[in-house]
């Protein structure tokens, strides 16, 4: 036979095609049907061909918590894929999710309980047994409790969600009797949550991209790093690609999201609020608002005014905010502001989205309130295609002993400045401990958190945490020896999320709740033990049994208690273990919930009273009032917890479910006008507030902005080699005009100085950032966390990763937090991550 040429094969192919096409010669002989592409869910070893064990579980590399499947071969996790049955993620995960494998097997992982033996911070530790570690800790905690000072035990958590939030925070701490608890929300999105609580009650919004026709984005990197990243980003891309939905992004820098947008509108840092106010003004003055929406809006002190009065009050307030005025402040062209306002108002359904670019500022709470206003006046709240209060699963769980002590608290978790820190002020905790006026914890226990690194003012954080007089005993449960672990007296090796149990579930992008279960894909490495399991152990050692002994038991009982799950075939727990996710197939997307009328019978129940001043029906017994007389005397607005008894809002002659309050005593209206803020001497309607430090800057003073990249988590991923190989350097972005005026060239080392500290960093000169700003990403500048993250071997690390020999990078980037003050937004306590002013010079 002749040598086959490409040409002759193609001829044969063409001839064969004819035979197939004629339908008489070559028809299917053996196989019937057609190849269907599976959505995933099975995997095979490419070497042995054997099917791998697939364990349905939930990601925890970021707070999105995508359902996924971990594939296990010979007891080792080899691969992670998305869970195809999830209605949230639709089977997709991101790079961070796939790198979850690295979380388990990175060579610098802590595998044994360690007790400090040298000076704190010297890095000298002794391996001890779990029994020795927990006997010591339980004795210290028991003494505090038995001496009547359980509040001197402080629990400070970072990423803790679902059952890993409830078991430690509510059940364990509640049974122990300490409310000295802080989260980390104020360094994330606390200001957004407070603003939403002030306007519509719930703290979290969903963006209904599946049904929207127009998107305005103020400072969200939704396509790269969002708290519900994969579920929302894929839907936004689909809306944009399949339906050509416009996406207008206002951002200080050309983020990946901005780059994928229909239009990037560069905006000066901290001025988005001015743009939104001007848009609202255009919509009101040009009568583009939805009149119906005003039925549920509060725009005046008096809640009982007719719609026309509300409209005219808002028109009057907003008249000062013209597009021309906003252009001068923000740099965004007035014509564009007016154009987007009109397009947004006229779209059938439109959604305004926002995140830290809008809210991590001095004026952030009002920024988010203004975004809420823009959505509400155009009828784009809780509607298909608009901005909707989030829908999440409603898990029931065992609450621990029925009789619990009255919990005590050190007032160190809310700072001293902010008016309504509904999600705390975590960045001020160490400062409050240093100050000491409100007491100090004897035991400071942090979990999945790195207080030294993630807050501003790193040096002060180190100083406080190092000082044994201020901090007598420090404990952490962690997987990695990071910047804070090195200041712990006791290090308890935690399991990774791939080795533990949890019930969980984040907000659904389609307004239908999904229940999700995390289960161990493999046994914990070394002597690692799950944090919640050791709390159960500690509780038993302190003679305060919680009613379950492990997280697995807690999760099983929760499955059996949860109404939606308890009747699932084969039992709720077994079902969830097998499938990983569940949603009610009959559930309809939740919209327009505020329009539901309250039944007369619910208003006539005992202890439900009507408050004339606000029009709210409320159950005074849930408000903390001693009796009905006290409740009536103070009224709904002034009782401490009256929002907990909220029943409905009277509007005209009807009573509606309205916008139910969650954390504050707002009415059931959508409150554009906030009497609560007025009480605290803030403008009741969303109003422009310039950022004081940004006024009159010198030529060499720039506004520092921060951001996240798609392949790293804020602080928990640089030890993951696959991620850090992709991102391990973060030069500072500077606009070419700014750089030229300062004589700075691309790649040159520069020095940045703030009132807090100083860093040296390489300049990245480009046109992708507004003049006058400088941008440094998070994630990097590690001084610990192992060889992949910092180049430094952790204590008791192993060398069992052959890839250590392939590591090729020796840059570890710079952390902007050394420059940033731990300052709060005066309303919410939100950390002002985007406000710091730095002076630039050549290094």
């Amino acid at each position: 036979m002749k040598k086959l040429s490409r040409r002759s094969v193609l001829k044969l192919a063409a001839a064969s095609s004819v035979l197939i096409g004629a339908g008489k010669g070559i028809t299917s002989n053996v196989l019937a049907g057609s190849i269907e592409l599976a959505d995933g869910g099975r995997d095979f070893s490419p070497v042995t061909g054997k099917e791998r064990k697939g364990v349905p579980t939930i990601c925890f590399n970021c707070v999105t918590r995508d359902p996924k499947i971990a594939y296990v071969e010979d007891g080792r996790i080899v691969k992670i894929e998305g869970q195809p049955n999830s209605i949230r993620s639709l089977g997709k995960i991101c790079a961070k999710g796939q790198a979850g494998v690295n979380q388990v097997y990175f060579p610098d992982r802590i595998l044994y309980p360690l007790k400090r033996v040298g000076k704190r911070g010297d890095g000298k530790y002794k391996r001890i047994s779990w029994d020795e570690a927990l006997t010591d800790l339980a004795a210290r905690m028991k003494k505090l409790r038995d001496d009547g000072h359980p509040e001197k035990f402080m629990y400070h958590y970072g990423r803790a969600k679902g059952s890993s939030s409830k078991l430690p925070k509510t059940v364990f701490m509640g049974t122990y009797g300490s409310k000295t608890i802080s989260g980390h929300t104020s360094i994330c999105e606390g200001g957004k949550w407070t603003a939403q609580e002030l306007t519509w009650g719930k703290h979290y919004d969903n963006w209904d991209f599946d049904n929207t026709d127009y998107v305005l984005n103020f400072g969200s990197g939704v396509l790269e790093a969002h708290t519900n990243h994969i579920p929302t980003s894929q839907r936004l891309i689909k809306a944009k690609v399949a339906r050509n939905v416009p996406l207008i992004t206002f951002d200080v820098r050309l983020s990946y999201t901005a780059a994928k947008s229909t239009k990037w509108e560069p905006v000066r840092p901290g001025t988005d609020l001015a743009v939104i106010l001007a848009m609202c003004n255009v919509i009101m003055q040009e009568n583009l608002y939805k009149r119906d929406a005003f039925t549920f809006i509060r725009a005046t002190e008096n809640v009982n005014v007719p719609v026309d009065e509300k409209i005219s009050a808002l028109k009057k307030h907003l008249a000062q905010y013209t597009p021309e005025w906003a252009e001068k402040i923000s740099g965004v062209a007035a014509t564009n502001i007016a154009k987007y306002a009109r397009e947004f108002a006229k779209a059938k359904a439109a959604v305004v989205i926002s995140y830290r670019g809008l809210i991590a500022h001095y004026n952030g709470t009002d920024g988010e309130r203004a975004a809420q206003m823009l959505a509400m006046i155009t009828g784009n709240i809780d509607n298909p295609g608009g901005r909707c209060p989030g829908v999440a699963p409603s898990w029931k769980y065992p609450k621990g002993p029925k009789v619990k002590p009255k919990a005590k608290k050190l007032k160190i978790t809310n700072g001293t400045i902010s008016a309504l820190p509904t999600h705390g002020e975590c960045q001020s905790v160490l400062k409050m401990i240093k100050d000491g006026s409100h007491g100090r914890p004897d035991i400071y226990f942090w979990y999945c958190y790195n207080p030294v690194y993630v807050n501003g003012e790193c040096q002060e954080n180190i100083d406080v945490l190092s000082d044994e007089k201020l901090m007598p005993f420090t404990v952490t449960s962690n997987i990695v020896y990071d910047e804070s672990s090195r200041l712990a007296d006791l290090i308890l090796p935690d399991t990774t999320y791939l080795e533990r149990w949890d019930w969980d579930g984040n907000v659904s992008p389609n307004q239908v709740a999904e229940y999700e279960l995390r289960q161990p894909a493999v046994e914990p490495l070394g002597e690692c033990r799950n944090f919640s399991d050791i709390l159960c152990d500690l509780a038993n050692r302190m003679d305060m049994p919680l009613g379950f002994n492990t997280m697995e038991e807690f999760v099983q009982k929760s499955c059996e208690k949860t109404p939606t799950l308890k009747d699932l075939p084969g039992g709720a727990f077994e079902y969830m273990k097998k499938h990983g996710v569940y949603h009610d197939p009959k559930a309809k997307p939740a919209y327009f919930r505020h329009k539901k009328e309250i039944k007369a019978a619910d208003l006539q129940k005992e202890s439900v009273i009507f408050d004339e001043a606000t029009g709210v029906y409320w159950n005074w017994k849930k408000s903390g009032a001693k009796d009905e007389a006290e409740a009536k005397k103070h009224g709904y607005h002034k009782m401490h917890y009256s929002y907990k008894g909220y029943v409905g809002q009277k509007i005209g002659d009807k009573v509606y479910k309205g916008f139910k309050p969650d954390k504050v005593n707002k009415t059931g209206y959508f409150e554009l006008y906030s009497a609560l803020l007025k009480d605290k001497e803030f403008a009741p309607l969303p109003s422009w507030k310039p950022i004081p430090e940004h006024e009159g800057l010198a030529k060499n003073q720039l506004i520092l902005t921060t951001y996240k990249v798609p392949v790293q988590i804020h602080s928990r991923s640089t030890h993951c080699k696959w991620l850090t190989e992709m991102f391990h350097d973060n030069p500072a972005w500077i606009n070419s005009k700014t750089a030229a005026s300062l004589g700075i060239k691309d790649g040159e080392m520069i020095k940045l100085t703030s009132k807090i500290g100083e860093v040296s960093i390489k300049a990245y000169v480009n046109e992708m950032i507004v003049p006058g700003a400088i941008a440094i990403s998070f994630h990097l500048g590690r001084t610990e966390s192992g060889r992949y993250a910092s180049g430094k071997k952790s204590i008791m690390a192993s060398d069992n990763d052959p890839d250590l020999k392939l590591k090729w990078w020796d840059t570890y980037g710079v952390l902007p937090n050394w420059l940033i003050a731990n300052a709060p937004d005066p309303i919410s306590g939100q950390h002002r991550f985007m406000d710091e002013v730095v002076t630039i010079s050549k290094a």
Partner: protein
């Protein structure tokens, strides 16, 4: 690309047909067209004038006997099944319906295809495997046509 992929699929389809069963009169008619003869000759395959001129019923009978002798028996024949030939480290080979038969069947069925009941071979018959590759190529071409890669 699209056209080329589906054409490559046709080659596999053609080969699958060759191995699947004895040549039928329809197939013989196609094979004897001048176009196909040209293609085969270009590939260096000369079937001889006899093939193109003999009465079809005679030729079909002869080809059927040859097919049986080659792939079915009796005596020395070549089993067209993977499990008989492919050496496995675990030693589970050299027999009909072996470990590889199971693996091939599972793999093919996992893609949504099924075996026609009329087919008399084992699931790892070379015709099944060639036809599977044909269908993969066709699916690839379809995905490219749909811009769904």
């Amino acid at each position: 690309m699209e056209e080329k992929n589906s054409q490559v699929g046709s080659v596999y389809g053609f080969l699958a047909r060759i191995f699947a069963r004895e040549v039928t009169s329809d197939f013989l008619e196609d094979l004897r067209t001048p176009r196909f003869r040209g293609v085969l000759e270009e590939l260096g395959v000369d079937l001889g004038d006899d093939f193109y001129s003999r009465p079809a019923n005679e030729l079909l009978e002869e080809l059927a006997v040859e097919y049986t002798g080659l792939f079915i028996g009796p005596g020395s024949f070549i089993s067209p099944h993977e499990s008989v030939h492919r050496v496995r480290e675990d030693g589970d080979y050299g027999k009909l319906w072996g470990a590889d038969t199971v693996a091939v069947k599972k793999f093919i069925e996992a893609t949504g295809l099924s075996y026609q009941s009329s087919f008399g071979g084992m699931p790892d018959h070379i015709a099944a495997e060639l036809e599977f590759v044909q269908k993969l190529e066709e699916r690839l071409a379809q995905a490219q046509a749909d811009d769904d890669m």
